[in-house]
């Protein structure tokens, strides 16, 4: 039966090439937008290089101090002192990576200016985040404690600063007016990954600000690596316990809030107190529905027009006893077949667009791909699209009177 529907669908598609083109154009373009969007979201959310341990990591990226009397609040990243003193000593996480949010500085090579994003880290940073070393190795705990001026640089920085040379380990790079010996070179990370992106990684001990200043707020964040996902509640509880016992720094701002959360949750609560996840999901769904609305209406209109073309066929089938249900079903299946063709084209277009984005300098080092998650979602969207644009015309078609249908031609 399905085979027959398939044959009929192909025959109909071939009949009026212009209409087929309009339908396919609408479907494939809609799917392209949705696939590109899905690929982008997937890239931000999934555990990409070097944050491959993300599914068993918790993030602490901010603290909020509230003044309940005057309704005031201060929030921001934490200090190294706080993270080192209270978080590193926690018992439940396996390892704690501490790093500063990147800060820009300049360096000048051959009278050319380079803007360099500097990130200060501890030694565990290199174990929690799986950077791929092109050459050399990370600096050790010993080197950090000695306050050695060593650095790990990104591949992009190597190219821009040293040019096309094979090995730079042991050479010196000057940034912020200080010479650092290069210990290793890592593959670059796009800026969309705030925690792991950077051009120059340095031991926290060489930071120009006092890393031992006894304050809670600063410019550092932490990634807590758990032994397994099941430890998450234990870690969260331990951290909540620590935060609840913190003495207030300031007598007015005596409510302290800070949470260890999974990646997405921690970032959404960073900018939006409360249910950020729901808001983001609503916005994305609304956008997708809006993008799909016009092509769906368009497809419905065209489908309705095309029914008449087939009125004799419908009339004959009805006259020989086909029920309305069969006809509706047939039409929907045909429409879904059409949307699948459109999806195939859409995948092709989005593949091309993603290649263009990857190779352009829009976001350097980003690598967008169509993976199984994206493919899965686009197939669901395609199915919904096919149903939405097929149901109404099919219903209209099934209600055609046999006499009128046969008489029309």
């Amino acid at each position: 039966m399905l085979k027959n529907y398939f044959k009929i669908a192909i025959a109909v598609l071939k009949r009026r090439k212009f209409f087929t083109f309009i339908s396919l154009f609408g479907i494939s373009f809609t799917l392209t937008i949705i696939i590109v969007l899905a690929a982008f979201i997937d890239n931000i959310l999934s555990a990409n290089y070097p944050e491959t341990n993300r599914d068993r990591s918790l993030y602490i990226i901010s603290m909020q101090q509230r003044d309940p009397v005057h309704q005031g609040q201060m929030s921001g990243p934490l200090s190294f002192y706080f993270l080192n003193h209270f978080v590193s000593t926690m018992k439940t996480p396996a390892k704690v990576a501490i790093s500063s949010l990147f800060a820009s500085t300049n360096t000048y090579v051959n009278n050319k200016k380079l803007v360099i994003n500097v990130k200060y880290t501890n030694a565990d940073f290199w174990d929690v985040l799986q950077y791929q070393f092109i050459e050399g190795k990370p600096y050790t705990k010993q080197q950090i404690n000695n306050g050695e001026h060593v650095a790990v640089i990104s591949e992009d920085t190597k190219k821009e600063y040293f040019g096309d040379v094979s090995s730079v380990v042991g050479k010196y790079i000057e940034a912020d007016n200080v010479q650092y010996r290069v210990a290793g070179v890592v593959k670059s990370v796009p800026v969309t990954q705030l925690i792991s992106s950077g051009d120059l990684f340095l031991p926290y001990t060489v930071s120009k600000t006092d890393y031992n200043a006894k304050t809670y707020m600063g410019s550092y964040t932490a990634v807590l690596l758990a032994n397994s996902k099941s430890d998450f509640t234990k870690i969260k509880d331990e951290y909540a316990n620590i935060v609840s016992k913190l003495p207030p720094e300031n007598k007015d701002f005596n409510e302290i809030h800070s949470f260890a959360d999974t990646y997405l949750k921690s970032f959404l609560s960073f900018s939006n107190a409360g249910n950020g996840v729901t808001i983001i999901l609503t916005v994305i769904t609304a956008f997708i529905l809006f993008v799909m609305l016009l092509p769906t209406l368009n497809l419905i209109n065209i489908n309705i027009s095309r029914i008449l073309e087939r009125s004799s066929e419908i009339g004959v089938r009805k006259a020989f006893g086909a029920s309305s249900k069969t006809l509706v079903w047939q039409f929907i299946v045909e429409n879904i077949i059409l949307t699948f063709f459109g999806t195939a084209l859409g995948l092709l277009f989005s593949f091309i667009i993603l290649q263009v984005i990857n190779n352009s300098d829009l976001i350097s080092n980003i690598h967008l791909t169509i993976n199984f998650t994206v493919l899965f979602y686009s197939l669901i969207v395609c199915l919904v699209f096919g149903l939405l644009s097929g149901v109404y015309p099919a219903w209209r078609m099934s209600r055609l009177q046999i006499v009128t249908a046969l008489k029309a031609q």
């Binding site: 309009i22 016009l294 368009n298 065209i302 027009s305 829009l362």
Partner: protein, 389 residues
């Protein structure tokens, strides 16, 4: 004639209903696109109000060993002396972190005669006006004479002046209540310091006080043609003098990246919208074309009783236009809510202009889509059409 067209459409209201919805939604999309374009153009057209070429920004964090305000001021003055001794540097001013084209903002409410107005606040020194070449419209900028003034002097921008004082003269007026009173000493032309496409906001400039040097940024006006060699020398000198991390930026480059933040989403939106519209146009064209094939008998009959080809094609285009008028009436009803309810705080004129553009655009689109099918209809021979029956 129009009454007749209405009747024709009414008879097929079921079929036309979806067409109207489709046009209605496309109208809303077009309205959104034009609102955005008109708004951006409206902002782009405004004069910049200051000169950002050859202005550099030095971001630094204050050395931690200097804590009290007086020593910070002393430190800033030493830096200033040092920078002034360089021949490449023409003007110099310390200011708050919200320098032009940066992402940081700082605002607060100001009260005059019971009216509370929000405004961006900037800390500025006496030379700030010279560094950015700010255009004074009325009054004067800060001078060293303000050291002794009892009430803190402020300079406001034109927009804030209009909002707070209307047609009255602003210079000499006192804002706020004791002990935080401020005296307006000057009015400057609006500074478009958030980027080319951003709307102008209220601005109030306060004279830099000793507390301000804790979180300060340095603005430098350098001689034209100053190159990276000098910049690296400057970087070294400042880095040694300040001791903490510093960064030098150029205002013209900051403007480019600031504009990008606004343009990239707008361009993506316009690309998506134009594909939607192409889609709709093709669909409209297809449906109209199809309808003509379906109505061959009717058209043939009309031709047989004497209608010219021209009038047949006019009728079809007219029908499409009446159909789109329905959609536009519903669409305009929704669109007009935007200026009425003051959604997104855009000026009403932006919405009105966008509404007109959108209406014209939809009409033109419909005419283009209906023209070819109409022409085809005109070419129908009555004999052939009626023979088919």
């Amino acid at each position: 004639m129009i009454k007749h067209l209405f009747k024709l459409i009414w008879n097929k209201k079921k079929q036309n209903f979806l067409m109207i919805i489709e046009m209605f939604v496309s109208f809303l999309v077009i309205f959104a696109v034009f609102s955005l374009l008109v708004f951006y153009y409206h902002n782009y057209k405004q004069p910049m109000g200051f000169d950002y070429n050859n202005v550099w920004v030095v971001n630094y964090s204050s050395p931690e060993n200097i804590q009290n305000n007086d020593s910070l001021t002393l430190f800033a003055n030493t830096l200033k002396q040092m920078l002034r001794s360089m021949p490449e540097i023409k003007e110099i001013s310390f200011t708050s972190n919200n320098v032009p084209f940066s992402n940081s903002t700082s605002n607060s409410g100001f009260n005059y005669n019971g009216k509370n107005v929000m405004a961006n606040t900037y800390n500025a020194e006496d030379d700030y006006a010279k560094v950015l070449n700010v255009h004074l419209l009325d009054g004067r900028w800060f001078t060293s004479a303000d050291n002794v003034s009892k009430i803190s002097p402020v300079v406001i921008n034109e927009k804030l002046k209009d909002e707070m004082f209307g047609k009255e003269n602003a210079v000499g007026k006192i804002i706020g209540k004791k002990p935080d009173q401020l005296k307006v000493i000057g009015v400057v032309q609006n500074l478009k310091d958030k980027g080319d496409y951003q709307p102008i906001e209220n601005a109030i400039f306060r004279r830099m006080d000793t507390a301000g040097y804790k979180y300060a940024t340095i603005l430098l006006k350098v001689a034209p043609g100053t190159d990276a060699a000098f910049e690296s020398k400057l970087f070294k000198t400042l880095s040694n003098a300040i001791g903490t991390s510093i960064e030098i930026e150029h205002l013209d480059k900051k403007l480019v990246s600031k504009n990008k933040i606004f343009l990239v989403p707008a361009i993506i939106f316009i690309i998506v919208a134009s594909f939607l519209i192409i889609n709709v146009a093709l669909g409209l064209f297809g449906v109209l074309w199809y309808n003509i094939n379906k109505r061959k008998n009717e058209i043939g009959l009309r031709r047989a009783v004497g209608a010219s080809g021209n009038s047949v094609s006019k009728q079809l285009v007219g029908e499409a236009l009446v159909l789109s008028t329905f959609a536009l009436i519903i669409g305009s009803f929704f669109a007009i809510q935007f200026p009425l309810l003051n959604v997104f705080d855009l000026p009403a004129s932006v919405y009105i202009i966008a509404l007109m553009f959108a209406i014209v655009f939809i009409y033109v689109l419909v005419i283009i889509c209906a023209l070819y099918p109409g022409k085809q209809a005109a070419a129908i021979y009555p004999a052939v059409a009626l023979h088919e029956e």
